[in-house]
């Protein structure tokens, strides 16, 4: 039963996952944390962190990681496989259709109109992660180290273009000594 649920959850994400790994994050979180309740949000956040630090596509990493913690080795393989299955099935049809129509006005306008909402999906994934579990000292005796970590990391990745892995390592170090 759990295998079937895992298969359906990641199949859905594979079909509707427009906009790449980060946009998929809110869908994965919705299925895994909210809908099925397979893990807590902090466990999920930790897996996202580890998936960002390891090589390979982030969404495959997350699928493998969550699949493993939910249903072991077979769960991990099933989750990753279900995620790419829709792409595999659509391969020939979509390639032919889009190569012919890639400059088509309807195709282009449709895809560019979707972009703001996809940005919203990524944004909401970040928003949902801003909770008391992920910001442990928020509002407590005026320290708010976690808010400072978040703000500095944002400046680091957005403006200073610092490698995300370095930011994760630095934040981990701060956490080790402060919390």
């Amino acid at each position: 039963m759990i295998y079937l649920q895992l298969f359906l959850a990641y199949l859905k994400i594979g079909i509707f996952g427009f906009g790449g790994g980060y946009a998929m994050l809110s869908m994965i979180q919705f299925e895994i944390v909210d809908h099925y309740g397979w893990m807590t949000l902090e466990e999920f956040t930790d897996m996202v962190a580890l998936s960002q630090m390891t090589p390979g596509p982030v969404s495959i990493n997350i699928a493998t990681f969550t699949g493993f913690s939910i249903a072991g080795i077979w769960g991990s393989l099933l989750a990753s496989f279900s995620l790419i299955l829709p792409s595999l099935l659509l391969l020939t049809i979509v390639l032919r259709f889009l190569f012919k129509n890639k400059d088509n006005y309807i195709v282009k306008t449709t895809l560019s109109s979707m972009k703001p909402v996809i940005a919203g999906l990524i944004f909401v994934a970040a928003l949902l992660m801003m909770n008391a579990q992920n910001f442990v000292d928020f509002g407590l005796h005026g320290n708010n180290i976690s808010v400072i970590i978040c703000a500095l990391s944002f400046v680091g990745v957005f403006w200073a273009k610092i490698n995300p892995i370095l930011l994760i390592i630095a934040s981990g170090l701060v956490g080790y000594f402060v919390f």
Partner: protein, 185 residues
């Protein structure tokens, strides 16, 4: 058969050594597939990438699938895609086994208390870049704001939001094409 194996190896290397997911690997794919092996022309490669970017699913896996398919059909697609994801799966499994054992360790827990706020920032950044890139204005901002509220406050599944967005975007595309044609004639 040799090409199929080479496709597997090429994408295995890319999957094993590129950090930061799909877009970070494009340079490496181009170098291998276009410059080194001469499997596809440069123009055709970037045309293909432009198409793959629009598709749902895992960008890196899609790039592997479509490149492999162009070069060697279904067999090539499967070989390239497996190559791209197998390193990920192996590495993550190794980490997962270790992590699930140690996640309750107090030191590990302290480290992750520091990491979690950083992860939030790492997701916020591509969201804002995408908002800028989508050329959203005050009128169209209502759609992402509505999507955010529906998911955040009303726990609506993002899948429904995407379905509604596809329908709305197609309708808008036809509507604006009509208007364009009318203003021309």
């Amino acid at each position: 058969m040799r090409t199929v194996f080479q496709l597997f190896v090429t994408f295995f290397n890319i999957g094993a050594f590129t950090l930061g997911g799909g877009y970070a690997m494009l340079d490496m794919v181009e170098r291998d597939v276009v410059d080194r092996r001469h499997w596809i022309e440069k123009d055709e490669f970037w045309d293909m990438i432009a198409i793959v970017q629009m598709l749902p699913g895992v960008f890196a896996a899609n790039t592997a699938l479509y490149t492999g398919y162009k070069i060697k059909g279904i067999k090539g697609a499967l070989a390239a895609c497996l190559g791209a994801i197998i390193p990920s799966i192996l590495i993550i499994l190794l980490i997962a086994v270790f992590f699930l054992d140690y996640q309750d360790n107090p030191a590990v827990e302290r480290i992750f208390r520091g990491i979690r706020p950083c992860v939030v920032a790492l997701i916020l950044s591509p969201a804002i870049k995408m908002f800028i890139n989508s050329k959203v204005n005050w009128k169209t901002a209502i759609f992402p704001i509505a999507a955010i509220c529906l998911i955040y406050f009303f726990k609506v599944s993002p899948v429904y939001i995407i379905i509604a967005t596809i329908i709305g975007s197609v309708a808008f595309a036809f509507y604006s094409q009509n208007r364009l044609n009318k203003s021309k004639s």
